[in-house]
Subunit: 492 residues, 2 copies
């Protein structure tokens, strides 16, 4: 099982690809760059959705649904947005197929050309702000806090399962506000929701920060991000929240009458996370044996494998297992008894390790006699024999420990690989070894670009909560004055 | 509020359109035929999804996700399927836009033409069976029971919100089996899941039956359907489940080794319901005052409207209301206190009636003195003053009564409008007045077509559970022998 997977030390990138496919998470489809998310992978995504959706609703966000297609002309309305998004996209030009007159299958009917081409949404600011125009006339109509769970398409040239695909699933929140302050507050609130989710549910120690102007969303005045470190020391942007100012309101002429009776443009935010989070989850926690899933996202939290030689042993062990299963389910856990009788226990152990199930219980005839069970942890790969008395409460606590331990491990890894750096020579060397470097930056796009050209490193963010970075200094590249350190890294 | 809505008796079709828009369920978008589902409408759809998804999982179905795009050539593989689905669809031909050399916005980049056009999925049998080919080699890999919640596009010429839109949301289940019997059983199981959902959750008394060969899904050997009667006596197909035989397995070469070591083609089913269910819900239960929502699907089950003149009255009433709200929420109900202080109670009453909230509680200073509350039912438009003692348990029971009553009302309506008919003259007259007619049919597509041409009526189904129809007779149109009655109606 695990021997089908490349070792991380050998080729981290290949390890990731192997894991996604062998653990039955996703695979390439017949359509270039589009993936099939398999049931086991989708079950994890569903858990992410459920937790996030509850968090959104807790801060007053409502779900809605907007069209898949966007008229081409909408992309010309917001100047920066068109440059950022209207380039590599799927363009619908016709609305009918017909039988090939030569009898070879079907062809596009040339008479069914659309008057205006439609773009499959790469993101929905334009169509949504065109809709909000009809929803907003007065300050009483504000704020609007809408989110949609949907698919989007960006025609990527080089794709990787979950990390960068032509079609992906995501949620996109779009809010409308009466004041700048309220919109800025909303953008901050939502990046914090993402960070809470990443830390608490995904066990991912993310850094919250602002993007540099270069790396902002096309059309945003400010982009907040959560950045995570993968096991190769590269950064992965896991979610973003944008303060859009009045840009889209102006492009789509969305004004409201304020309490003083004056017309004003509406203030906006948008924020999103995608199936890319699946990539972050896999890369942050997996090991050479396979996936390591935090209990909060594991479709199966506990797997039970019976050990037996004779049929009567099998029956007795399974009976006991069903009792334990009931006890665990009553505590809210998801349990699977792997009673497939064509496979050996060792094979099953390896398969569930590959799939990252947090806890494995094995039980044989001797355990029945002794009233014990073997408890194995996926995160530490340790096992111990325990009494069946109070096993429910024990496993319940163990799952909490595992969740905390996975976070702690990832956190310690990051801490060990973040350092301050004040020498350009050192920077060039260290950045290639997989480090997050906290460096002084003079605040110019020019310097940022030069550093990127020479090293491939980018400013991941100007951190707001994870490191104390405000201090006077000089830019690591230009030598010009700097007011604070920022996080440089090579990214996915 | 209600006076903005056309009366049903005046123009049923306009009543429906008014209701969808005025109750904030959905609206037309800037893209022809594509709708925006607004938060209140989407909240109902989410409730439908949750209940259905739980039912699917209870019968072993797993969710997954397959690509939005289907290569054009896939549609040529299954002959009937291409005729049924590959005609009116959205065709992606290019993957890039560029700045117009003349400086007028953006244009399609002619150099970015796709080698093979991609079709936005109208349904996913082809791409899914192309995927299953890689998942299935042995009987051990079967059955596969997958479902996906997604958007699909069918380029409809005449669209109506929820009932027929170019893009709609749905779920599509696709299962693969080792034997014909198992696949037939699965198709039956799923149509029963739909019927349970329609009856129990939507309060919709549907008829389960087989489609006539003419009305089958393109590529199916049998289509099972649930058919509901709307208040104008027209039929609405609310969900279908198809036994696909080995058609798609043969088209995509999906074979498995059976227990005897022989290669066989896999047996298939598919089944789906869509946002069309929203249309059925609205049309089946709404009245001239607006929506009537069954409690099981109401985003707000109980709305509370405070009555007061002075601020101290307002404070006292609201305080009591929050107590009652807590009591109701503890029983699992969703409650909203409408404390907007710029609107009068009468306006609020009308608004929540329009939105179909099942129970309205009104409370004023005199109620506080007497320990009472006014309880109004949306389904019957009746109200009574009740003691606050035990109000939680009373409302809990009342919601159950309302759910049952809405079903009963729709059921009685249908029963009153279904009749046996054995005279062609009578048929022609009655079918136009909004009746389901149980008639003998000779089983030929020819007769069916002639009846449709003359009356617009179609065979909605050959019922299996709602009426006793097996009896010898003669076809109402052709006079040829018939073995059973079928349901004729004019449909949406």
């Amino acid at each position: 099982m695990a021997d089908q997977i490349t070792k991380r030390a050998e080729n981290y990138s290949q390890w990731y690809n192997d894991l996604v496919v062998k653990a039955d998470l996703a695979e390439q489809s017949a359509v270039r760059g589009c993936m099939v998310i398999k049931p086991y992978g989708y079950a994890i995504w569903e858990k992410m959705q459920r937790v996030l959706d509850d968090k959104f609703k807790a801060v007053g966000v409502q779900n809605a649904y907007f069209p898949l297609f966007i008229p081409k002309s909408f992309f010309s309305r917001e100047a920066e947005h068109v440059a950022g998004f209207a380039k590599e996209c799927a363009v619908v030009t016709h609305h009918r197929l017909m039988n090939d007159p030569d009898g070879r299958g079907v062809v596009v009917d040339p008479s069914a050309r659309l008057e205006e081409e439609l773009i499959v949404r790469p993101t929905s600011e334009t169509i949504i702000w065109n809709t909000y125009k009809n929803w907003i006339t007065s300050w009483r109509d504000l704020p609007i806090l809408c989110n949609q769970w949907c698919n989007v398409v960006r025609w990527e040239m080089r794709t990787r399962l979950f990390l960068r695909t032509a079609e992906f699933l995501w949620q996109e929140g779009h809010t409308a506000h009466a004041t700048r302050e309220e919109a800025v507050e909303e953008a901050t609130r939502m990046v914090n929701v993402y960070a809470d989710f990443a830390r608490g549910t995904m066990a991912l120690p993310v850094i919250i920060g602002h993007k540099s102007p270069n790396e902002r969303f096309a059309g945003a005045l400010d982009t907040l991000t959560i950045e995570a470190m993968m096991q190769d020391g590269k950064a992965l942007q896991a979610g973003t929240s944008h303060f859009l100012g009045q840009n889209f309101a102006k492009s789509f002429d969305v004004q409201f009458t304020n309490k003083e009776g004056q017309l004003e443009y509406v203030w906006a935010t948008s924020w999103g996370v995608s199936t890319r989070l699946m990539g972050a989850l896999i890369m942050a926690h997996g090991d050479d044996n396979g996936l390591v899933l935090p209990p909060a996202l594991a479709p199966i939290q506990i797997v039970m494998v019976p050990i037996f030689r004779k049929p009567e042993e099998q029956a007795a062990v399974l009976e006991k297992m069903h009792q334990v299963k009931q006890e665990l389910e009553a505590l809210g856990h998801t349990v699977r008894i792997d009673d497939r009788d064509t496979l050996r226990p060792g094979f099953k152990f390896a398969e569930w390790e590959l799939k990252g199930v947090p806890v494995r219980l094995a039980m044989g005839p001797r355990d029945l006699e002794n009233g014990t069970v073997e408890v194995a942890r996926r995160d530490t790969l340790t096992k111990e024999t325990m009494s069946l008395d109070g096993i429910g409460a024990h496993i319940h606590g163990l799952l909490e420990d595992i969740q905390a331990n996975i976070y702690r491990k990832a956190f310690d890894w990051r801490e060990a690989n973040v350092e301050k750096c004040d020498s350009w020579e050192e920077f060039k060397e260290k950045i290639q070894t997989g480090k997050f470097l906290l460096c002084h930056w003079d605040g110019t796009a020019e310097t940022e670009q030069k550093i990127k050209d020479e090293t491939k490193a980018t400013i991941r963010c100007i951190p707001v909560d994870s490191f104390v970075c405000e201090e006077e200094g000089v830019d690591i590249y230009s030598g010009k004055p700097s007011r604070q350190r920022v996080v440089f890294a090579i990214s996915y």
